[in-house]
Amino acid sequence: MATEKLAQAQSSAEFAPGKGRVGLPKAIRTLMDTSGLIAIFILLFIGLSVAVPDFLTGRNIVGLLLSVTLIGTIATTMMLVLALGEVDLSVASIVAFTGVVAAVITSSSGSVFIGVAAGIAAGAAVGAFNGFVVARFGVNSLIATLAAMEFVRGLAYITSGGDAVMITVPAFFDLGSASFLGLTVPVWTMIFCFIIFGILLNVTAFGRNVLATGGNAEAANLAGVNVRRLKVTVFALQGIVAGIAGVLLTSRMGLGDPNTSLGLELAVISACVLGGVSLSGGVASITGVLVGVLIMGCVQNAMGLLNVPTFYQYLVRGAILLLAVLFDRWKQSRRTRA
């Protein structure tokens, strides 16, 4: 029988490479899927290195890395939130709030540890609250986190009295500036987040459940996924990571600024979408997000090196985003047609 033969032929071909390499084709295929983007990034990088003087210098690259840490770190968990089919607009407010909290508590308690812990805990609390509202009451996350964005920014202002908060414990500054192998703690944190959440997404049941829930929440629930807990966990992770980013930012900048990072949420979401994460849930790739973050960072950095006037920077950012999603659509439609 035709189908059976087909099936047999297929399955023998599949099994042939031996058990040891079973994981490989998948990895390669995923690479192929995202490779379009990677290729574009590589071309962009080469192009910038050639065309933009001083782009490819050690110190510029280090600076570039440092400048994307905030977006990059938070993008790793935003990826999970988006994969879940949700969105979190409150991250920028969380960064500001946790930074202020860490500054206030460090100064008042005199202990860096307590201050940092308090900052991160504040982030976790906001995240878990978002998750609770979304999961328990089924409120659309765009609105729930929009409310949180306002509310938490208000908390940041109230905590700080509206003014930048000074830090009286010098050890706090080391957090942001201590370096190892030439890279500072914030950069390492970002790298670490990419690794952790890459693993979480790809090789754990948790990650697969996130994707499944983003694909069809009701089906996931019927298939035994604890959808509610999953959502709370993901939002809480997002809060924790935004909290860590906020604390590190405060330490790097030397002050807890309640006005910081306005608009960060949109930059983070853009980076994820650039990286092929679907806003309707169920699709995400950590390599994609990494590339998305790097593309954004490189373009911004190059515009700085080239001294592009601010007004035109708006045009470039808008155009890049649009072109990237158009490219993504084009790739997909070609694949369907092929």
């Binding site: 001083d54 110190r59 510029n60 280090v62 700080s160 908060v165 309640p258 006005n259 910081t260 700085g304």
Partner: protein, 305 residues
């Protein structure tokens, strides 16, 4: 009661420490002198007009305003006249349709350009004090041309520096997206990495937060505090935070202006005017005081910040 005085205090950025201080000082004065101050925000023209309507509903006789855009002057004035309210400006002065200051609206504030000049002069003086060769120094000018006042300030500082013999070719722009520390940091990074050949840097911007971002970036590129002179504007928490650090940083000083005095005096002028006194002078210019690591606490006290 009939003779109760209520005035409004409308500011363009209600979250900023500067404006919180101003509104607070006005409120305190009001408590002392027996009039009420309604604090309102007007982040854009639409909101300003709503705020004025709102004041009208509360029966206010006038308001102090720092407008989100100086060219809103004619519209704001017209609205005020329509409601028979008196208006004075603080910090940012109204311009009429020809781009000239509106002489008939009393103003109290510092000129953005002049305060910028103060920054430039402070930097030039410190360059000399450190014995650097003016020719070899680079300037990191963190700009925000979306905000006209920001442009005035950085222009003032630039002109002062050039007058003092600074090399025009050594001034490099870092356009920032926001007015906070991290966006200044992001803007400064590529400029510093591109100009690795300069040993000495001066940094200026529209406010302290932005200068701090530049200073942090300079540290990132391994520039020692002795090689950097950053001078900010305002005299807010960001500067105090920096001055209270254990070791000196590249943030040399800031031109502090008394927001408290601005808030108090402008409210007082308006109150006097409303209660039958003279119309305040067309333009009261205030100046800033250079605040450095050595004198910051003292200046802070003097300016009541």
């Amino acid at each position: 009661a009939q003779d109760d005085v209520t005035i409004g205090f409308i500011v363009k950025k209600p979250e900023q420490a500067w404006f919180i201080n101003e509104q607070q000082a006005a409120t305190e004065l009001g408590e002392k002198n027996g009039f009420e101050v309604v604090k309102l925000s007007g982040v854009d023209g639409q909101e300003v007009l709503s705020a004025i309507d709102n004041l009208h509903s509360q029966g206010a006789q006038g308001f102090v305003i720092c407008p989100p855009d100086v060219r809103l002057g004619p519209v704001i004035k017209r609205r005020a006249e329509q409601y028979d309210m008196k208006v004075v400006t603080v910090d940012d002065r109204f311009l009429n349709s020809d781009g000239e200051p509106m002489q008939d609206v009393p103003h109290l504030g510092m000129s953005g350009y002049k305060i910028g000049q103060q920054v430039g002069n402070a930097i030039a003086k410190e360059i000399e004090a450190r014995g650097w060769n003016m020719e070899d120094v680079a300037a990191l000018r963190i700009t925000n041309y979306e905000l006209p006042t920001a442009k005035e300030r950085t222009d003032g500082a630039t002109d002062a520096l050039l007058d003092a013999g600074f090399n025009k070719a050594n001034i490099f722009d870092a356009p920032q997206q926001n007015t906070d520390t991290s966006s200044a940091f992001a803007a400064a990074s590529p400029v510093l990495s591109k100009r690795g050949n300069f040993k000495h840097w001066v940094i200026y911007a529209l406010n302290e937060e932005s200068v701090l971002g530049g200073v942090r970036a300079s540290e990132q590129y391994g520039l020692a505090p002795e090689d950097v002179i950053g001078v900010g504007i305002n005299g807010s928490g960001a500067a105090f935070a920096e001055f209270s650090r254990e070791n000196p940083t590249g943030f040399f000083g800031t031109v502090a202006v008394s927001s408290t005095m601005h808030g108090r005096d402008s409210a007082e002028n308006l109150y006097t005017w409303i209660t039958g006194g003279d119309k305040p002078p067309a333009n009261t210019e205030t100046a800033g005081t250079l605040m450095t690591r050595d004198n910051w606490q003292q200046v802070r006290e003097e300016l009541d910040l």
